[in-house]
């Protein structure tokens, strides 16, 4: 055996020993500081079933018909949605603020303030993305305590916009107001109504 081939064999043996030591003592991103046994892999599974009522817009009622503030109402989620869209399309910031539920409004305004999203930003955004655009109803989802209206804002050429957007409403006293209650809810996160999804399975590694 030449010196070169001896070195090659030595390298292979070292590699095998190194691999063995890795498998024998697993390393993780955080380790305990007291003596422990070997790490064992486990899995915990949680199944949640959500129920909702699905509504589609009737033929001829797809287009959102905007109203002046004096004709607006918050007596139902649908009316509140019309008020919300009318406030945005008429660049009425105060009216838009008045369509929020109090706690959700505070949460939203704090978040926007941290991101520097002030009144000027919103008016500019609405001017560019809402004013003069066709808004259509896509779906209505009714949950025990909330109603979600899904809508689409058309592009300037009148073609449907790329994504459908949800607005969540909750009833506070006699009025339906915009709510952030469902911001972390899995049902809204996965919005199964978009593709008619009835089950989703996720593995968190």
């Amino acid at each position: 055996m030449t010196l070169k081939s001896k070195h090659a064999w030595l390298n292979v043996i070292c590699l095998i020993l190194f691999s063995f030591s890795l498998s024998a003592q697993q390393t993780f991103w955080a380790m305990p500081t007291f003596d422990v046994g070997e790490a064992k892999e486990g899995v915990i599974s949680v199944e949640q079933v959500f129920h909702y009522e699905l509504f589609q817009p009737k033929q001829g009622y797809e287009k959102v018909r905007l109203v002046q503030r004096k004709y607006a109402s918050l007596s139902s989620a649908e009316e509140a949605f019309v008020a919300r869209m009318s406030a945005i399309a008429s660049l009425d910031y105060q009216w838009w603020l008045d369509t929020w539920e109090v706690d959700s409004k505070q949460l939203a305004l704090n978040y926007y303030a941290n991101k520097g999203l002030d009144q000027t930003y919103w008016l500019d955004t609405w001017q560019k993305q809402f004013v003069g655009r066709k808004i259509t109803y896509k779906q209505k989802i009714v949950l025990p305590e909330h109603t979600i209206i899904i809508y689409n804002v058309a592009a300037p050429n009148g073609k449907p916009g790329p994504i459908d957007l949800p607005v969540v409403f909750e009833q506070a006293k006699q009025e339906w107001l915009v709510s952030l209650d469902l911001r972390r809810a899995p049902l809204l996160r996965y919005s199964p109504w978009i593709k008619g999804l009835d089950k989703k399975e996720i593995v968190y590694e």
Binding site: E41, G42, I44, F50, Q56, K58
Partner: protein, 186 residues
């Protein structure tokens, strides 16, 4: 028919005709498609290491601001209770938890949780580390205090291990705790 009566009849007819339109505008934009259901199944993988007879006999005398590991932070948490030091105990929780409790000062939320833990840990309590579990970005440390099993989720916040109260409310966390609890009981 008097002019007054004619106006009343006209108003009545107008209302009769327009009322269904108003109701229609408010209720008939959508048609029901029926009830639907959506099943979400989430699998959380974890790595579990069991401590080898880790009975804790040495506790901290005072707060130490150092990253010495999640299990050492748990010992600080228990040390604060043994010393009856509320501020030290509170510093073991993450910022979100502390902010949440500040917002619930009228409910004395922080004090109520503290009182629960004070009733759990006494100077005579036996404290034995049981589990070190890695799950996502969290380290869960299982500890047996006297005969009760407790599981606390730690996350790294600005380089320090801190406990997250919101994580303890998650369904999978509760389920995992129940599983480990039952294992200990058997």
């Amino acid at each position: 028919m008097s002019k007054f009566m004619r106006n009343r009849v006209r108003l009545f007819i107008t209302l009769l005709v327009s009322f269904p339109l108003v109701v229609s505008a408010a209720t008939s934009r959508f048609e029901e498609q029926g009830e639907r259901s959506f099943t979400l199944v989430e699998h959380y993988k974890y790595h579990r290491m069991q401590y080898k007879d880790a009975l804790i006999k040495q506790f901290y005398e005072q707060r130490r601001d150092a990253n010495e590991g999640a299990d050492r932070q748990l010992i600080q948490f228990i040390s604060a209770l043994r010393k009856d030091n509320f501020d030290w105990w509170l510093s073991n929780w993450n910022q979100n938890t502390q902010v949440d409790w500040q917002q619930k000062t009228e409910l004395k939320k922080a004090r109520r949780v503290y009182n629960y833990w004070r009733a759990t840990v006494t100077k005579q309590s036996s404290v034995r580390l049981k589990d070190y579990i890695l799950i996502g970005q969290y380290v869960l440390v299982g500890v047996q205090i006297d005969n009760e099993y407790h599981l606390l989720p730690f996350e790294l916040e600005n380089g320090y291990w801190r406990i997250d109260q919101a994580y303890m409310n998650a369904v999978f966390f509760q389920k995992l705790k129940q599983r480990l609890d039952a294992e200990l009981a058997n």
